[in-house]
Amino acid sequence: MSKLIFERSVPGSSAFSLPEGDVPSVELQDSLQGFLRESDPPLPEVSEVEVVRHFTELSTKAFGVDSGMYPLGSCTMKYNPKINEWAARLPGIAGLHPDQPEETVQGALELMYELEQMLCEITGMNRYTLQPASGAHGEMTGASLIKAYHEQRQDFRRKKMVVPDSSHGTNPATAHMLGFELVEVRSNERGLVDVDDLCSLMSDEIAGLMLTNPNTLGLFEEEILEISKVVHEAGGLLYYDGANLNAVMGVARPGDMGFDIVHLNLHKTFGTPHGGGGPGAGPVGVKEFLVDLLPIPLVGKKDGQYCLDYDVPHSIGKVQSFYGNFGVMAKAYAYIKALGGKGIREACRHAVLNANYLRHNLSDFYEITYDRLCKHEFVASAVRQKKECGVTALDVAKRLIDYGYHPPTIYFPLIVDEGLMIEPTETETKERLDGFIEAMQEIAKEAKENPELVKEAPTNAPIRRVDEVTAARRPILKWK
C-alpha cells in the first residue's frame, strides 16, 4: 500500500521557490479587499525528492503498453512510438499560446492543415474539424452536425437516431445528449446489422444511423452499401464511429462505403498514448455537403499563408475552447508520416492477421461467438467455463493479470454472454501472441482442475480484488 501524498506531508517542507521579486510588493488587504480567502488551501507540503519518489512508486503500480501486451478490445492499445513524444514536447510545439499572431504559428497551422488532408485521404472524406478532444466528443460533434443538417432543411421531424444493439455505450449516450430518441437495430444471426429490421425502422422521423465498421464483434458489415442505401433513401445520414478504423485503414475507406460523417480516435488508430484515460483527440470528417456546418475555426490557406478560418456560414459553433488537442495531433501527424501510405496498410493487415491468429488458436478452449474471419478483434466467451466450472469472464480476466497480461475488454458487446473482447493490435510479436494463447489455455485448464485458483485471482498483483460494492455505497472520493 502506498501512502497518499497528503500522508507524506510535513508542515514547512517545500519543493518550490520563486526568484526574488523586483517589483514593489502589494498590500493584498487593500488591492483585494473582500476577495481574499481566510487560509491557505489544504494541499500537501512535501520535499522535491519525496514527491519524485511518491509518483515513481505509483508508476510501478500502473500497467501500460510499454509494460506488456494489452489486448483490450475496442481500445486499440498499440505501441506508442517514442519519437512522437519527443516531438510533442519541442518548444516550437508545446510552447505556443493559442492566440499568438498567425505569422508566429505557421508551423503549427501547417501541421494541422496537412494532418487534415491526410485524414481525408485515409477515410475518403472532404474536410475535417480537428477540434473534438476525444472520441465521444467527436460523436457529440457529429450528432450535432446531423441535427443541424436536418434543421437547416427545415425538417424538424427527424428526432430518432438508430444505433445497433452491439454499439459502444457512447453512441446512445451521445444521441441522448443531443435530444434524439433512441432506436435500436437488431443484429442478425451472423452478428451483423439485420437489414430487414433496419428497413422496418426507417421513416421520415429518422435522423441517422451511427455505426462502427467493422462492428464491435470485429466483423465487417458486409452489407454496408445496402445499409447506406436504406438510410439515405429514408433521408437519414450515416455516421461512422471510427473506433475500429485500424481494421480497414489503407484497405477500404468509410467515405467510399457511403458514410457522411466520420469521427476518428487519434489515440487508438494513430498511435498516440492513452495517458491512463486521456488525452485523446476525436477529429470529425464530413462530405462536402456538410462542410458549412463544421465547428469554427477551420484551418485554411490563403496566399501561401496558413490561417484560422472563421468563415463557416452555418457552423454549429465550438465544442472546445481552442482548436483541439494540438499536442495529440502532433503525435498522430508524426505517426502517419513515419508509416506513409504503405505502412498504414501494413499496420492494418498485421492487426487483422494477429487477431485472426489469436482467434484461430483460442477456439479449441473458448467458445468464439461468430467464429469466422474477423478483422482487428473478436469476441471470445467464457460461457463454457461458466457452465462447467463456475468460472466467469471476469475470473479469466483477473487470472490473466497473474500471467502478466492486461485483460481483454469484458462483458462487451452486451449481446455476447461472458464476452472477452480481444484486440491484439499489429504491434505484438508472434512470441507474445503465443504466450497469450498459452496463458489462456492454461487458464481454461485451471478452470476445470482448480477453479478456485481462477476465482481467487489475481494473487500476483499489488492488490487482490476490490470491494466495489462498498466503494459505491459509501463513497470516499477524496482525502479527508
Binding site: 497518499l4 517545500s14 518550490f16 521557490s17 523586483d22 517589483v23 493584498l28 483585494l32 476577495f35 488551501p41 494541499l43 515513481t56 508508476s59 500502473a62 505501441y79 519541442l90 518548444p91 516550437g92 510545439i93 510552447g95 499568438q100 508551423g107 501547417e110 501541421l111 450535432s144 455505450g169 457512447t170 449516450a173 441522448h176 445528449m177 452499401l225 484497405v251 477500404a252 480516435n265 492513452h274 491512463g276 484515460g277 486521456g278 488525452p279 465547428p295 465550438k318 472546445q320 475552447s321 481552442f322 483541439g324 499536442g327 502517419i336 508520416k337 508509416l339 506513409g340 501510405g341 498504414i344 492477421l353 485472426n356 483477473k398 485483460p407 510479436t429 487482490r464 466503494a471 472520493l477
Partner: protein, 438 residues
C-alpha cells in the same frame, strides 16, 4: 519506420498455420467494390532520422514562448512548469496505460487520480471532484447540463463576462439538449448583477459566473446572486482560475454548487490550445449526477486500502442513453500533471505564485496609469484590459520588439501577468505601447 514487429517469414508462418497463403485473404469479407486497390497518397514512409528533421522544421516555423515574453492569457496561461512535472509525465507506465478499469493492475493511476480529486477539492472547497473533463469550456457546458437535469428546468443565466469561448461551447451543447441560455449584459468589465437577479425565477436551472472574470476582474456581486438563485432552488456555477485560489476566496466560500475551470495552468504546457484539463467539482448532493470518471477509496479482499472507479452507474458504458454524460476518454494525464504540480508547489508555493502574478499586474497597471493609458477602476487578479486606439498596431509593434502582446478585444488589449514575467519585460512592453499610442 514501421512498428509492426513480425518479419515476412513469420507472417507467412502465421498465415500458413491458419491454412492461408496471402494476407489479402483476410479481407475477402469486404465487398470487392470497396477495396481501395491503390496505395494511400500519404507519401513515402520516413525513417526516424527524417521524421526528427521534419518535426524540427515544423517546430522552428513557430515562435515559442520560450523565446519571447508572452502577455497573452484569456483562458490559457504561461505559468512556470517545474521540471519534476515533466519528469513524472515521462514515466511510460502512466503515459501508455488505458483508463484504469482493472483496479488490480492500475492502483498507481487510480491513486494519482484520487489525489488529484482531493487536491481540486482542497482548492475549490467542494466535496466531490471528477477525474477530469476535456477542457474548461466543455466542463462549464457539462455543469450547465447537470444543473438542467438536477433541477428539471431549462433556463441558464450566464454572465456576459464569462470567457466568450466558453459561452460559444455552452451554446453548442445547449442547442443540442434544448437548453435556453440567456447571457447577461456587461458594463465596464462587470456583468449587470441587477439584471441577472431580475431574470432569476422558478425556471432558472443555474446562474453561471466566472471569477476572476474573462477580463481578469473580480465580480463584486456574487453574494447577491448566490442568495437570489438559491432562493428559487437553482444552482450557482462558478468558473475559476485555479492559480487564483492560492489567495482568493474559493467557489465554496461563495456558496457555489458546482465549480469548474481550466486546469491548464497547473503544470500543463500551452500546446497551442490543447490538451488541456477541465476540472469539475461539486457539492455532495450532486455526487451521483457528476459526469465522467470518479475514483473512490475502498479495500481489497485482504482489507488493504485500494482505489477503484466507482459510482459507474452514472456512466455511458453502463447506462448507455441514461448516462449523465457521454464522456469516455478524459484528460487523465493532464490531471496527473496537475497533481504533481500542486504537490511540488504546495500551499505556500501556490500562494507565492498567485501573489507574484498579482504584484506584477499591479506594477504594470501603475506604469500604464502613469503613462496616461485608459484603464478600468475595478479590482483585478493577474489580468486586465488596456484601452488602445489601435490594438492591432500595438500588438504588431510589440511583436517587432520580440514580445507576444495581449488578447485583442476590439478597443483594447487584454494583458496577463504570470510569475514568469519580470519588471524588465513589463517596462519594455509599456514603453512600446507608449510609442504606439503617442
Amino acid at each position: 519506420m514501421a512498428y509492426t514487429p513480425n518479419p515476412p517469414q513469420v507472417v507467412r508462418e502465421m498465415l500458413g498455420s491458419m491454412g492461408l497463403r496471402d494476407i489479402n485473404e483476410l479481407f475477402i469479407d469486404i465487398p470487392e467494390e470497396l477495396h481501395l486497390n491503390r496505395e494511400l497518397d500519404l507519401g513515402e514512409s520516413l525513417s526516424e532520422l527524417e521524421l526528427r528533421k521534419k518535426m524540427n522544421e515544423l517546430a522552428r516555423k513557430n515562435v515559442s514562448i520560450d523565446d519571447c515574453p508572452c502577455f497573452l492569457g484569456a483562458g490559457a496561461y504561461d505559468h512556470y512548469i517545474p521540471a519534476v512535472v515533466e519528469h513524472v509525465l515521462s514515466r511510460s507506465e502512466f503515459v501508455t496505460a488505458y483508463t484504469p478499469y482493472q483496479a488490480e493492475l492500475s492502483q498507481g493511476v487510480l491513486q494519482s487520480i484520487f489525489e488529484y480529486q482531493s487536491m481540486i477539492c482542497s482548492l475549490t472547497g467542494m466535496e466531490v471532484c471528477n477525474a477530469s473533463m476535456l477542457d474548461g469550456g466543455s466542463s462549464l457546458a457539462e455543469a450547465c447540463s447537470l444543473a438542467v437535469d438536477a433541477t428539471r428546468r431549462k433556463k441558464i443565466l450566464a454572465a456576459g463576462t464569462i470567457n466568450p469561448r466558453y459561452l460559444k461551447v455552452l451554446h453548442t451543447y445547449a442547442h443540442g439538449k434544448g437548453i435556453e441560455v440567456a447571457t447577461i449584459p456587461d458594463h465596464d468589465g462587470l456583468f449587470d448583477a441587477d439584471e441577472m437577479i431580475k431574470m432569476i425565477d422558478k425556471d432558472t436551472a443555474a446562474a453561471v459566473i466566472q471569477f476572476p472574470n474573462f477580463y481578469g476582474f473580480l465580480e463584486p456581486e456574487i453574494e447577491k446572486i448566490e442568495a437570489a438563485v438559491h432562493k428559487v432552488k437553482g444552482l450557482l456555477i462558478i468558473a475559476v482560475d485555479p492559480i487564483s485560489l492560492g489567495i482568493l476566496k474559493s467557489p465554496a466560500d461563495w456558496g457555489a454548487d458546482i465549480a469548474v475551470g481550466e486546469g491548464q495552468s497547473l503544470g500543463n504546457p500551452l500546446s497551442f490550445g490543447g490538451p488541456y484539463l477541465g476540472f469539475f467539482a461539486a457539492n455532495k448532493k450532486l455526487m451521483r449526477r457528476v459526469p465522467g470518471r470518479l475514483v473512490g477509496e475502498t479495500k481489497d479482499l485482504d482489507g488493504k486500502r485500494a482505489f477503484v472507479l466507482t459510482l459507474q452507474a452514472r456512466e455511458q458504458h453502463i447506462r448507455r442513453e441514461k448516462a449523465s454524460s457521454n464522456i469516455c476518454s478524459n484528460e487523465a494525464l493532464c490531471a496527473l500533471a496537475a497533481a504533481v504540480y500542486l504537490s511540488i508547489v504546495g500551499p505556500k508555493g501556490l500562494r507565492s505564485i498567485a501573489v507574484r502574478c498579482h504584484e506584477l499586474a499591479c506594477y504594470a497597471r501603475s506604469r500604464l496609469q502613469d503613462a496616461g493609458f485608459s484603464l478600468y477602476q475595478v479590482p483585478f487578479f493577474k489580468e486586465f484590459p488596456v484601452r488602445l486606439s489601435d490594438p492591432l498596431a500595438a500588438n504588431s509593434a510589440l511583436l517587432k520588439e520580440g514580445i507576444i502582446g495581449g488578447y485583442e478585444l476590439g478597443d483594447a488589449l487584454l494583458f496577463a501577468f504570470t510569475e514568469k514575467r519580470t519588471k524588465k519585460e513589463i517596462d519594455k512592453m509599456v514603453d512600446v505601447l507608449k510609442g504606439v499610442q503617442a
